[in-house]
Amino acid sequence: MEIFGIPLQAFLGQLVLGLVNGAFYAMLSLGLAVIFGLLDIVNFAHGALYMVGAFAAWIMLDKFGINFWFALVLAPLLVGVLGVVIERTFLKRLYGLDPLYGLLLTFGLSLILEGIFRDQYGVSGQSYPVPELLEGATNLGFMILPNYRAFVVLASLVVCLGTWFLIERTRLGAYLRAGTENAKLVQAFGVNVPLMVMLTYGAGAALAAMAGVLAAPIIQVTPLMGSNLIIVVFAVVVIGGMGSILGSVVTGLVLGLIEGMTRVFYPEASSVVVFVVMVIVLIIRPAGLFGKEA
């Protein structure tokens, strides 16, 4: 069976690959959206935190024999703590200033993190084995689906929906959303806003790190893996419109799919297609697809 002259097998394979990439875009842009929503900071260090998460998992396995499942919990916790430290030491000094300073500061931080790992591990990649439980592939009849990739898509959907639920449907989420609107008023109601802000950045960092751990068995773990991805995620965020959590998840997944399809039909364009979509969306809707701000 063929679709537009492409074997169905190859087509679906690329589609799954696109969905997996989309899952990473979704998780990363979700973290960016959460941090931006409450802190008004475009976290340029997000890609570096994703890279640190992947390295944390790799080091845990390599040095201490800690397996994937523990790393999936431990690495985000560690990076979350790193995020808290970053927020306390650096970011809290920038609140109230032009958000551009936050962008520049986190850019500096990402250079520092990247440089340290490059000094330690060079630019050649480290490979991380697929966890035993998820080795192999399932034959769906019309295609062979690698188990681990299916797991990544599922895990990312669970995390994204969980975050969405937490923010849109719980009391804590209500405080968070209110804090973004008017921090002083929420503070006056007895909510510890600085604590909330600190934990939000930590949680955003942890989300990035979790994406990193999930990515480790699929790609080579290298110091540059984050800086290559973050620009695409920025484009996703611009397309989705930065305010919306659901928007970033949907946009991330859809763009991953579009990228996968492009790889089937016109491979040369696959690395630019996200940016082309961005240009088209911006011309039609400058605020992004889900953006509210004028």
């Binding site: 850019f107 500096g108 440089g115 620009i231 965020v237 940016f275 240009v279 911006l282």
Partner: protein
């Protein structure tokens, strides 16, 4: 009043001193290629500062203009045998055109959105450079000859090349100063300070921003073209987004919105990279990142900006 004239005199004397130093640099044993490279990046930083410092637009995609122009110039000289002045002009014009396209798209949004959009657009140019047939892919363009300027001046001599670059740099520096102090420049400053007011006064703000963006892109392209001529190569490094970050650092470190700040900042960054690259390896990135963090946290005015502020305070006290 007299203090204020003193202030101006001091600044003028500093400029003349630096110019004299630049004129005699090859004679007193400063390596000309290093100073030329520095001047190219200083011009790049000045072009960037025209946009950020005087119009208030943070572009995170200036590597696209610099790098793409570097390729265009290198390609025309090396593969088409064009003379250097025409190839430089071509690089500059192509950069201006890309600037026009970027500007039309990005100016619809402000602040961080503007920054992120320019960054994404520049990354698109990066991928095009990676795959286009004329750029040499991963290897870039190597061994670009300098040729003869206007068929007369043999640029293969470092000293001749040096004075040509210095002349172009000084002309551009004065040109930027002229633009900024002109009525057009005053409108740009007003847009930076209070955009809604500029709109309500009836200025077509978007048009002013676009002109500033194209001018800045063209000058960045000129810097990239000259860099190819000086160094003899154009590579993916020139067009990668980390180059956009570097030019931001140069301006920020020297002093955004000052005339001389970007030149000073470019000097420090290039010197650091040249001096440290062999000795500390990947720590150069760490050091540059740390300078970034310190600039943003502790002295947002930059070195030249802080000196200006100090002079102002002293004047106020006197």
């Amino acid at each position: 009043m007299s203090m204020s004239t003193n202030h101006t005199k001091l600044i003028r004397a500093t400029y003349i001193g630096i110019l004299v130093l630049a004129l005699v640099a090859p004679l007193i044993g400063l390596y000309p290629v290093f100073v030329m490279k520095l001047l190219c990046f200083a011009l790049f930083a000045c072009a960037f500062n025209l946009l950020l410092g005087f119009t208030g637009l943070l572009s995170f995609g200036h590597a696209a203009f610099f790098g793409f122009a570097a390729y265009v110039t290198g390609y025309f000289i090396k593969s088409q045998g064009w003379s250097p002045e025409i190839a430089i002009l071509a690089g500059t014009l192509v950069a201006a055109f890309i600037g026009l396209v970027f500007g039309l798209i990005a100016i619809r949004r402000q602040g961080i959105y503007f920054a992120m959009i320019t960054l994404a657009l520049a990354q698109m140019v990066y991928f095009i450079c990676l795959q286009a047939p004329f750029t040499g892919g991963e290897d870039g363009l190597q061994g670009v000859p300098r040729g003869k300027l206007l068929g007369l001046l043999d640029l293969s001599s470092d000293t001749t090349m040096y004075y040509v670059i210095l002349a172009i740099f000084v002309a551009c520096f004065l040109g930027i100063a002229r633009i900024v102090t002109s009525p057009f420049g005053q409108v740009l400053k007003m847009i930076r300070e209070n955009e809604p007011r500029a709109v309500s006064l009836g200025y077509e703000v978007d048009r002013y921003k676009l002109v500033a963006f194209v001018l800045s892109a063209a000058l960045a392209g000129l810097a990239g073209s000259l860099k190819t001529l000086v160094m003899g190569f154009a590579t993916l490094t020139d067009v990668h987004w980390s180059m956009s970050g570097e030019v931001i650092l140069m301006s920020l470190l020297g002093g955004v919105g000052t005339f001389f700040g970007p030149v000073f900042g470019a000097g420090i960054v290039i010197a650091l990279q040249d001096l440290l690259a062999d000795k500390v390896g990947a720590w150069v990135t760490v050091i540059i990142g740390a300078i970034f963090v310190v600039c943003v946290l502790a002295f947002r005015k930059g070195v030249v900006g802080e000196v200006h502020a100090w002079l102002e305070r002293r004047r106020a006290r006197a």
